[in-house]
């Protein structure tokens, strides 16, 4: 009888920690000494995916840089809920300037660190999807093009949540927002619009681009670590559900992020110098309806009569992602 090496760990590497994993295989988040870059007392809504994503990403970056990190933040939920005078939740040096200029401000910080001979201090710029794909797009593209030494992180919750859930260029088709109401013959956000920012970032040929979700911490932390191993412009697009803006239960935040990945709605991959180098495979395939039904922003698609035609289009988009990135696991992946 052949002996097999023990490689299986109850919750394997899916859970945050797991006492059975070696210390090196555990996440930063499992460490009691993690930075908690964004600390308790912040005013994010219950179940905020962005607050979680920011802590995940920045704590990982803090570990990788041994605490030599500066964060630049665009205006938006993350900024507002973290720093209302007189209280800040940030435990790391942090600067907020404007909504649309975080990438450029980050460039300035990086330039200052270099000129001061403090190259070990690394810079992270961060924004929501509005601050990234819309108003901050110009400065972001400039930062990419110059290959400035900045990791820019977009926490994508698919709309302008801070101002009351309006549409952004990251809002998915059919989703109801305050400016794309679920009325008329084409309810919600129109099809055929929006920006695929990770691919735009790749088109700049920058060293590293990756997508991730708050549902897969190991993947997210590994990507932050990978990103920090490069100098130059890097981009991380993190999918962060918004219970308030999506009309979802606050306890479903991670569940929704997981479903977004498992349905193919949000492809999780990474790219170096413009070429896709890795894809996080779907583990438990699910139809898009599993994901859509949990969100009131899609409520108009269900019930009677509902819009099965629209659901089918969304399923087709997910299927296209699955085909494009090869998201389904094959025998060799097992």
């Amino acid at each position: 009888m052949s002996e097999t090496r023990v490689h299986f760990y109850q919750v394997g590497s899916f859970a945050v920690g797991n006492r059975l994993l070696s210390a090196g295989e555990r996440t930063v988040q499992s460490d009691r000494r993690r930075t908690n870059s964004i600390d308790s007392g912040h005013r994010a809504c219950q179940g905020c995916g962005e607050a979680l994503g920011a802590r995940y990403a920045l704590d990982a970056a803090m570990r990788v840089t041994s605490g030599q990190l500066v964060a630049v933040n665009a205006t938006g939920c993350l900024e507002v809920f973290s720093t209302p005078f007189p209280e800040t939740s940030w435990q790391i040096p942090w600067l907020h300037s404007l909504f649309g200029n975080a990438p450029a401000v980050a460039t300035g910080v990086a330039a200052a660190m270099r000129v001061k001979g403090r190259d070990q201090v690394r810079v992270v710029g961060q924004a929501g999807d509005g601050g990234t794909v819309d108003i901050g797009f110009g400065t972001l593209s400039g930062m990419f093009e110059r290959n400035d030494d900045v990791l820019f992180i977009c926490y994508d919750n698919e709309g302008y949540m801070n101002t009351g859930v309006q549409r952004s260029a990251a809002t998915p088709p059919a989703a109801r927002t305050a400016t794309t109401d679920a009325v008329g013959p084409e309810p919600g956000n129109p099809f055929g619009q929006g920006k695929d920012l990770p691919r735009i970032a790749m088109a700049h040929g920058i060293p590293y681009v990756a997508t991730a979700t708050v549902a897969d911490l190991h993947d997210l932390e590994r990507k932050v670590e990978r990103a920090m191993s490069f100098h130059g412009a890097r981009y991380l697009h993190v999918f962060v559900p918004c219970p308030l803006g999506w009309g979802a239960a606050s306890n479903d935040t991670i569940h929704l992020a997981r479903l977004a990945k498992e349905t193919g709605i949000f492809p999780v991959y990474e790219a170096e110098y413009g070429e896709v180098t890795g894809v996080t495979k779907i583990r438990r395939p699910a139809p898009v309806t599993d994901y859509l039904r949990l969100q009131r922003r899609y409520a108009h698609l269900f019930g009677h009569p509902g819009r099965p035609d629209v659901v089918a289009r969304l399923q087709a988009m997910a299927d296209a992602n699955i085909a494009r990135y090869g998201l389904l696991a094959t025998e060799e992946d097992e």
Binding site: V6, Q10, V16, R19, C48, P86, E87, N251
Partner: protein, 541 residues
């Protein structure tokens, strides 16, 4: 550095903002009852011992196991593991091979010579245990741990009861049984063998015991009247297996028919094969779905060449030929005769139609109430006569070794309470950790490790153990398939997924605590807890 007013803020300041006031529900850590534990007749804390096994700490695992059951190597072989039937992992892939890990732990303990926990301080009480089967052995063990002296008597020359005389050696090697019995005896048990007890009260008086545990089992094979010629050989399975165990097997010939559909029928047929029968045929009146024998026993029997005549009853046995009547099932699933007949050549017929108890020893104990051939027992296995307890096959329950071990434990605790003049407290029972409470996404996918089976050829001709144990790697792997239903196993998920850093990690073995100053009650921790050990409860406002 002095900060510019308002625009620039110092770290740590947000901790003044106690967001816990937003909460309308609060998360609470709970321990729920895993379905395996719930289903275990011996009351084992299976999830508890698997927890230790998962980290490779087999000794702690074994020590947790023997808190409830002193015979893990035995039960790891003969238990029909209702725990695995109940296991939540069946909804993910396959049940955890609890029984195999139990056996691994039991074997490892024997191999490494681990001893059972020392007896408790002497109470001055003596308890008479009648019957050294699994119930009696279990009772003796638990009574010794509670500090009571034990006098263990059995009618047979060797201890073990049906474990020795009913279960064939290819399922339970005698060395294993002996090792585990010896370990119990090492706790200081007075043993009297080959000592049939004819009058329980007289026996108690004679030895001056303060209480009695009656566990004589069901040793009488049931017979039915089958018209048979003089030259035919008809035996009952219990006697047959007993004789084989005593190394005195009866000569049954080359064609052996076993009548019945339970595990004993399987044992008898498989034993007959090992004794040289070329044909071992089971005759059963219903179909395979209705067969009471455990599926893997049936599977193994068929694999060894045992044949089955389904939907058949034996009409008569004459001149080396059995006449079978074909049956059919009514819509209710009951067999009814068809009036059609088959014939089957047979040198011997073994009747495996169930067992009866022999309770003649209670005739002098008038206060012990008996009905339908079993002794009525109440809470903690006490009969209607105070001081006399009963368990195992003489008590109304499933007649399995695992049930018997549970009876022995409960009876020991009941006797202890009785001797102390206390009312036994029923332990707190947690809510069941049902499958819907789990978040199984987190568990790694893995197939169950199959216990390798001996090659068929070998097991048809000798009594070598058929099912072999797990290697350490496999046992560890299997243990790690446990979902830890309802009990925190420190995966750090709650600590990680809280958007408000409101979970405090207390360190290895200490689990976690909530910081209600900051917990907003979003419930992500509860949703993302793999094992369902967090409950959201409404906040009192």
């Amino acid at each position: 550095m002095d900060r510019p007013f308002a625009i620039t803020l110092d770290v740590g300041t947000s901790r003044a903002n106690h967001t816990g006031s937003w909460r309308i529900e609060r998360p609470v850590y709970v321990d729920r009852l895993p379905p395996c534990n719930d289903a275990c007749p011996a009351g084992e804390n299976i999830q508890g011992w698997l927890y230790h096994a998962e980290s490779g700490d087999y000794e702690s695992a074994w020590r947790t196991l023997v808190q409830e059951n002193p015979l893990p190597a035995v039960m790891g072989r003969v238990c029909f593991h209702p725990c695995e039937t109940a296991c939540n992992r069946v909804h993910v892939d396959e049940a955890v091979g609890i029984n195999a890990v139990e056996r691994f732990l039991g074997d490892t303990a024997i191999e490494r010579g681990w001893s059972l926990p020392a007896p408790g301080p002497d109470t001055g009480h003596t308890v008479l245990v009648v019957g050294a089967g699994p119930a009696g052995l279990s009772a003796a063990y638990h009574l010794r741990r509670l500090g009571h002296a034990v006098r263990l008597v059995d009618s047979s020359p060797r201890l073990g009861g049906m474990l020795r005389y009913g279960i064939p050696a290819y399922r339970l090697p005698r060395a294993v049984l002996d090792a585990e019995i010896d370990r119990i005896l090492a706790l200081g048990v007075e043993v009297v063998t080959s000592h049939p007890v004819l009058d329980i009260e007289a026996e108690q008086r004679a030895c001056g015991a303060d209480a009695v545990f009656l566990a004589v089992g069901a040793q009488l094979g049931k017979r039915v009247h089958i018209p048979a010629g003089d030259s035919t050989k008809v035996v009952d399975a219990v006697s047959f297996l007993h004789q084989v165990a005593d190394d005195d097997p009866p000569l049954l010939g080359r064609r052996v028919v076993v009548y019945g559909g339970g595990d004993t029928a399987m044992d008898a047929a498989r034993t007959a094969r090992r004794l040289g029968a070329t044909d071992a045929v089971i005759v059963y009146r219903r179909n395979r779905d209705k067969m009471p024998a455990h599926p893997e026993e049936v599977e193994q029997a068929l694999g060894e060449g045992v044949k089955v005549r389904w939907l058949s009853t034996i009409d008569r046995f004459e001149g080396g030929r059995l006449v079978l009547e074909r049956m059919r099932l009514t819509p209710d699933g009951l067999p009814e005769p068809t009036g059609e007949y088959d014939e089957l050549d047979a040198d011997a017929l073994v009747l495996a139609l169930g067992q009866d108890t022999d309770l003649s020893l209670l005739e002098g104990a008038g206060a012990v109430s008996v009905s339908n051939g079993v002794v009525e027992v109440g809470l903690q296995m006490m009969t209607t006569q105070p001081g006399i307890f009963a368990g195992g096959d003489v008590a109304p329950s499933d007649r399995t070794a695992t049930v018997a071990i549970g009876h022995g434990k409960h009876a020991a605790r009941g006797i202890d309470a009785y001797l102390r003049g206390e009312t036994p407290a029923s332990p707190e029972r947690h809510d069941l950790a049902s499958f819907d409470r789990l978040n199984t996404w987190y568990y790694a996918d893995a197939p169950r490790t199959q216990r390798p089976e001996l090659e068929l050829v070998r097991r048809q001709t000798n009594f070598e153990e058929v099912v072999r144990g797990l290697t350490e790697d496999n046992a560890l792997f299997e243990a790690r398939r446990c979902l830890s239903c309802g009990n925190c196993f420190e995966c750090d998920n709650c600590f990680g997924v809280c958007p408000d850093n409101a979970v405090i990690k207390l360190g290895p073995g200490e689990r976690y605590a909530f910081n209600y100053d900051f917990c907003k009650g979003c419930g992500i921790c509860a949703s993302e807890c793999p094992c369902g050990a967090i409950e959201m409860v409404p906040e009192r406002i």
